[in-house]
Amino acid sequence: MKPAPFEYFAPETVADAASILSRYEGEAKLLAGGQSLVPLLNMRLARPKALVDLNGVPQLEGVREENGRLVIGAMTRQRTIERSQLVANAQPLLLEAVRNIAHPQIRNRGTIGGSLAHADPAAELPAAAVALDAEFSATGPRGTRMIASRDFFVSFLTTALQPDEVLTEISFPKTPSGAGWSVQEVARRHGDFALAGAAVTLSLDGDRCRGATIALFGVGYVPIRAHGAEGVLQGEAVSGALLDSAAERAGADIEEPLSDIHASSEFRRHLARTMTRRALTAALDRARNGASNA
């Protein structure tokens, strides 16, 4: 058998899941869609003592609007998000991020919470969450707390979740009218993790940029907000030259881009600039044309 032995639990409530996690003191892993964890188990790179399968916890699934925000249960499948009219209307950037994840067969099983909690630096959903200032809700033995996206991603495959906490839902602001968005990435093969990518929102006030958010992925240990580039855009009259200098600045906003066998540090910086430029162009188009989600 491929994975090493583990104890298996299939709780029906978040409270039960958290109490099992707590009992194993960091030696148990949550199993969501399994699209990253099961390969790690198969290769025995991960050898947890126990697996806590969340697939039987109904309260973790679903998409809803609440207090003017879009709230998505952690166990909601990526495919469900992709097909949700509510998501398409309320936060289309999320839809575009999800469509860039792997392949439909993976998205059928993969969940939003699993991807966020796994925190692969090249994954789309963490960058989308950072670009949108999402809020994460986590429940553990000490109760429930909210975590801001800027605090959630700590390092490579590491989040602010404690070993006995369960990510339960993620809340996103709804996209304001007159805002544009885009997710752009480059990968060696269709469906692969990105070498680099950018998730961007941009809103206009006449011909001026009211504000923009830019999150870069695949270039650092966590998604990087390009605050410098956002500052370049803020309040300025929009032009091709302005987008050029914002994209240039986004490259400079990355302190030390990742370097590995797939791409050098400098190549990743170059890609981040190019993806930012493309995403800004697409976002601007959508902002000007009163954005449909096509």
């Binding site: 299939a10 199993l31 099961v38 390969p39 439909p104 067969q105 099983r109």
Partner: protein, 160 residues
């Protein structure tokens, strides 16, 4: 003796009640315990798509899913497609359009296409490519597989 866990699921219309080790992957269960050799094991880490089956109607990779996760579910493998000895229209289309050469990847492709055509009876070229992107073929160069999907869609639309 490692702990085993009760498992009840329907595979190709037949209910199975058994007990398995929690670490057994679904593909190893389908092949090893049920003898369904049409579910192929390729990369064993979710990249190649050869092990694709339908789980409650949705295509997924059975090598990166535990058998216990399918508890209560309905699984369809390539063995479940043909009826009374006649090929499913997708299989027939692969035969007629030369959609396979060595055949190793074929069951996975067929199951992915099965989900696609259930949802969408006339997929565009782009929609077909988006679906097939999750399955690797080292022989055909994909062109004849795309042709097979178009032909299969045509055959299925013509069905009463």
């Amino acid at each position: 003796m490692p702990e085993r866990r009760d498992l009840r699921l329907r595979v190709n219309g037949v209910t199975h009640e058994t007990a398995v080790e929690p670490r057994l992957t679904l593909v190893d269960f389908l092949r090893g315990e049920l003898g369904l050799g049409g579910v192929h094991v390729g990369c064993e880490h979710g990249v190649c798509g050869a092990c694709t089956v339908l789980i409650d109607g949705r295509a997924a990779r059975s090598c990166i899913m535990l058998a216990v996760q399918a508890d209560g579910g309905e699984i369809t493998t390539v063995e479940g497609l043909s009826t009374d000895g006649s090929l499913h229209p997708i299989q027939q289309a692969f035969l007629e359009s030369h959609g396979l050469q060595c055949g190793f990847c074929t069951p996975g492709f067929i199951m992915s296409i099965c989900e696609l055509l259930e949802d969408n009876e006339s997929p565009t070229e782009d929609e077909i490519k988006e679906t097939l992107g999750g399955n690797l073929c080292r022989c055909t160069g994909y062109e004849n597989i795309i042709k097979s999907v178009h032909l299969a869609a045509e055959k299925m639309r013509a069905q009463p």
